[in-house]
Every structure is written in structure tokens, then in C-alpha cells.
């Protein structure tokens, strides 16, 4: 029985694991329900490119956006956030919520047209996370090294108190008319108050939907936002042989005043 539905979003009462490679830690959530049930799709419109914007090209020149939503040939853009009217918490970033909203995470699948546009993610905004050979080579949409991005689609989980930056690149010689669709779940979440269940999830013996964030280098902004929101920065992932040590550690986290005081356990 799959824990995700036809959209690839986590079903009610199933578990979501958000994994951070840089620290080998993960957050485990029980999805109580989805606020946008039956309304999982937002046809956002074009990429947030406004006529007159200046983008950089892969040749190092400057390309001006001539028509809103049309991406100039050979250009790329980084650190993009999506606006969604003035009523949202941060009018410039539709997936940002503050740390006090610790019962919410946004599971977002982004689909960009045309499908051969490069799509990448910066967490936090402005920080490219893809690396090759430890820290030797940085990747991303804005590099010609040819890695650190996907074509046309991206899955991520937006956590509270941190801005993500989207990157888009057009390495053709044609100006492209763009479009964006989001398939998303605004999950109402709690953290399971069971150390043994947490271990079973992280040892892959209990089903959960895993989303690995593209975070390869430790960034204090990420750690601080997690601690500010949930009182800790994730459960360490242990091998099966260290079950006792893991459960002891998880129990200590779940009993700590920093976590209990947040009211996020169930």
C-alpha cells in the first residue's frame, strides 16, 4: 500500500521523512491531513520574469527580459521566489511561513514548461548546494559544468522559517515562453512521539515517503531555522545495529523541553 496518492503527495495519516544529507539527520512527520484536498494544483502562470529584468547569460553577458514571462536565450536566473498576492504571509514568497507555523510544511512539485528548462534549488536562497568531489566543484543551473539541476521539474518540501531560491536556466539560443504548475500539499503535521517508530522509519522498516533535500554543505541558517521551529534539527540516521543508541537519543530529543514546549508531538 503506497503512502502517496496519485499526485505523489502523502496521504492522510501517513508519514513524511525529510532528509538532510549534510548532517545525516531527518525530520519525521505524520501528515494529519492536507489543507488543499481536491485542490492540489496551481497553474501559476509564467516564470517570475518581468519585462525589463536583467539576467546573466552563460557567456557572461546581460540579457534583458523583453516580454514578461519570456526567458531570453542563453540566460539563467537564481534565487527566484514566487509571489502569490498580498494576502500571504510573505508576499514575495508563497511557500514561506514563519517558525510559529510549525504545524505546516509544503510538499511542492514544480513543473516548468518547456520541459528542457533547467531547474535547480538554493537552500537557503542564494546558496547553491550541489557539489562534486566534496567541495571542489560547485554545481547548479548557473554553471556550465552540467550538473546540479534537473530538467523541467523539481520536488521539495518547504520548511518554515527558511526561504528557498529557485534557479532556472535556458541554454538554448531561443527565447522561451515559460509556464509553471505546482502540484502541492499544504500538510498539517505533527511529529510522532515514539522513539521506536522514528527508528523504524529511518531504518526503512516502516513505510514513509522520503524527500531528500539537496543540501550537501552544512549551513547554520538551516539548522537554526529547524531548531527555532521544532526545537531540534532532526533525528540522526543510524544503522540497524545501533538501534539502542538511536532510541536513547530519540527519546531524549522527544522529552526535551525545547521540543515539548513547541506542542508539535503526538
Amino acid at each position: 500500500m503506497s503512502v502517496v496518492d496519485k499526485y505523489g503527495l502523502v496521504k492522510d495519516n501517513e508519514l513524511l521523512t525529510v532528509y538532510y544529507p549534510s548532517t545525516n539527520k531527518a525530520m519525521v512527520f505524520r501528515v494529519i491531513t492536507r489543507q488543499n484536498k481536491e485542490f492540489e494544483t496551481i497553474d501559476y502562470g509564467t516564470l517570475p520574469l518581468t519585462a525589463g529584468d536583467s539576467l546573466v547569460t552563460y557567456e557572461g553577458a546581460v540579457a534583458t527580459v523583453l516580454t514578461t514571462g519570456v526567458m531570453p536565450a542563453r540566460s539563467y536566473t537564481t534565487g527566484k521566489e514566487f509571489a502569490f498576492g498580498n494576502d500571504i504571509w510573505d508576499p514575495s514568497d508563497m511557500f514561506f511561513v514563519p517558525y510559529t507555523w510549525n504545524d505546516r510544511v509544503f510538499h511542492v512539485k514544480t513543473y516548468v514548461k518547456p520541459g528542457f528548462i533547467r531547474v535547480g534549488l538554493q537552500i537557503p536562497v542564494g546558496v547553491n548546494q550541489s557539489r562534486f568531489q566534496k567541495e571542489r566543484v560547485i554545481g547548479g543551473v548557473n554553471y556550465q559544468t552540467g550538473f546540479g539541476y534537473k530538467f523541467g521539474e523539481m520536488e521539495t518540501v518547504h520548511m518554515p522559517e527558511i526561504h528557498y531560491g529557485y534557479m532556472f536556466g535556458n541554454d538554448t539560443n531561443l527565447s522561451l515562453v515559460t509556464g509553471v504548475k505546482f502540484v502541492y500539499g499544504e500538510y498539517i503535521v505533527k511529529i510522532p512521539n515514539s522513539a521506536s517508530l522514528i527508528f523504524d522509519v529511518l531504518s526503512k522498516s516502516y513505510p514513509a515517503h522520503w524527500v531528500g533535500l539537496p543540501i550537501t554543505t552544512a549551513d547554520s541558517t538551516i539548522t537554526q531555522s529547524l531548531k527555532k521551529t521544532w526545537g531540534f534539527d532532526g533525528f540522526s540516521v543510524y544503522p540497524n545495529l545501533k538501534r539502542d543508541q538511536a532510541i536513547q537519543e530519540y527519546s531524549a530529543i522527544l522529552k526535551s523541553q525545547d521540543v515539548v514546549s513547541k506542542g508539535v508531538l503526538m
Partner: protein, 156 residues
């Protein structure tokens, strides 16, 4: 990535005369192509300076598949040729050629390729494909061309 299916098309808005081709560059008499995914304010493809007309740079790590090509000419006077080529360094190599010579005056002719696609791979991102039409004296609206194309990841 999800395969990107689109069409590349163009029709003659002006009279073309004395179409010529000099090496890799069509110097005159060429038909500007457009698409539903790329455009400029005039509705024609906006070719980046430095590239030959009607030349598309295929994204790194993808392949362009041409599933079908069609050309219709009305009132052609002289040879009509349609050609697809890729750029390999300084020269173009023909990867698919639909050539048609029409000296019948005012009849409508078409060239069609369908079935197995022409696949042009771009592992390094520097592969170009060029769509060339060389006509000799065609009135406005006298020529129409369309390619049904698809871009897929090389791993697909």
C-alpha cells in the same frame, strides 16, 4: 524530464527571390521559423546573434527528435529544397534531407517524412540543428513548413 513535444513552423510573409546558400549560412531567401514555445514580438523565432538563421541549439544532455516534417509550396518557380543539418565545428553535416525540386509553376507540392524519427543528440550542449529552405521566387504565403518535434533527455 517530461518529453517536450512541440511544433516548429513558418510561412512566407514576404516574397522570396533568389534563395542562395553560402556554406553553412543561408544568405537570403530563407524562411523564418517560429514555435509555440519560442517567439519574439514579431512572431518569428528570435535567433541569437552569432547563429545561422533557423538554427537551434539543443540543450545539453537532451536529444531533438523530428517526428514529421512537411512543406507545401504554391507558386514555386525553380528549385525548392528543405534540409535538416547539424553543426559539427565549422561545417554542417546533413542528418536528414528532404529535397524536392519543383519546376511546375503554380502547383502545390509537399514533402513529408513520418514514422521513425530523426534523432539529433546533444550530449555536450553544443549541437546545432539547422532548418533550411531554399526557394527561388515564391510569392507571399507561397510556402509553408512544419516540423513536429520533441526534446527528450538522453537517458530516455
Amino acid at each position: 524530464m517530461t518529453s517536450e513535444v512541440f511544433s516548429i513552423f513558418g510561412s512566407s510573409k514576404v516574397a522570396y527571390t533568389s534563395g542562395t546558400c553560402s556554406g553553412a549560412i543561408v544568405t537570403s531567401g530563407f524562411l523564418n521559423l517560429a514555435s509555440e514555445i519560442w517567439t519574439d514580438s514579431s512572431g518569428n523565432a528570435a535567433w541569437t546573434s552569432g547563429y545561422a538563421p533557423n538554427t537551434i541549439r539543443i540543450p545539453k544532455g537532451t536529444a531533438l527528435k523530428i517526428w514529421e516534417s512537411k512543406i507545401a509550396v504554391n507558386g514555386g518557380n525553380g528549385a525548392v529544397n528543405m534540409e535538416m543539418s547539424t553543426d559539427s565545428g565549422a561545417t554542417y553535416r546533413t542528418v536528414g534531407l528532404d529535397a524536392h525540386s519543383d519546376n511546375s509553376g503554380f502547383s502545390v507540392k509537399s514533402i513529408r517524412r513520418s514514422g521513425r524519427p530523426i534523432v539529433i543528440q546533444s550530449p555536450e550542449g553544443d549541437t546545432m540543428v539547422r532548418f533550411v529552405f531554399v526557394v527561388d521566387t515564391v510569392a507571399p504565403g507561397g510556402i509553408f513548413a512544419e516540423y513536429n518535434a520533441e526534446i527528450v533527455e538522453l537517458t530516455q
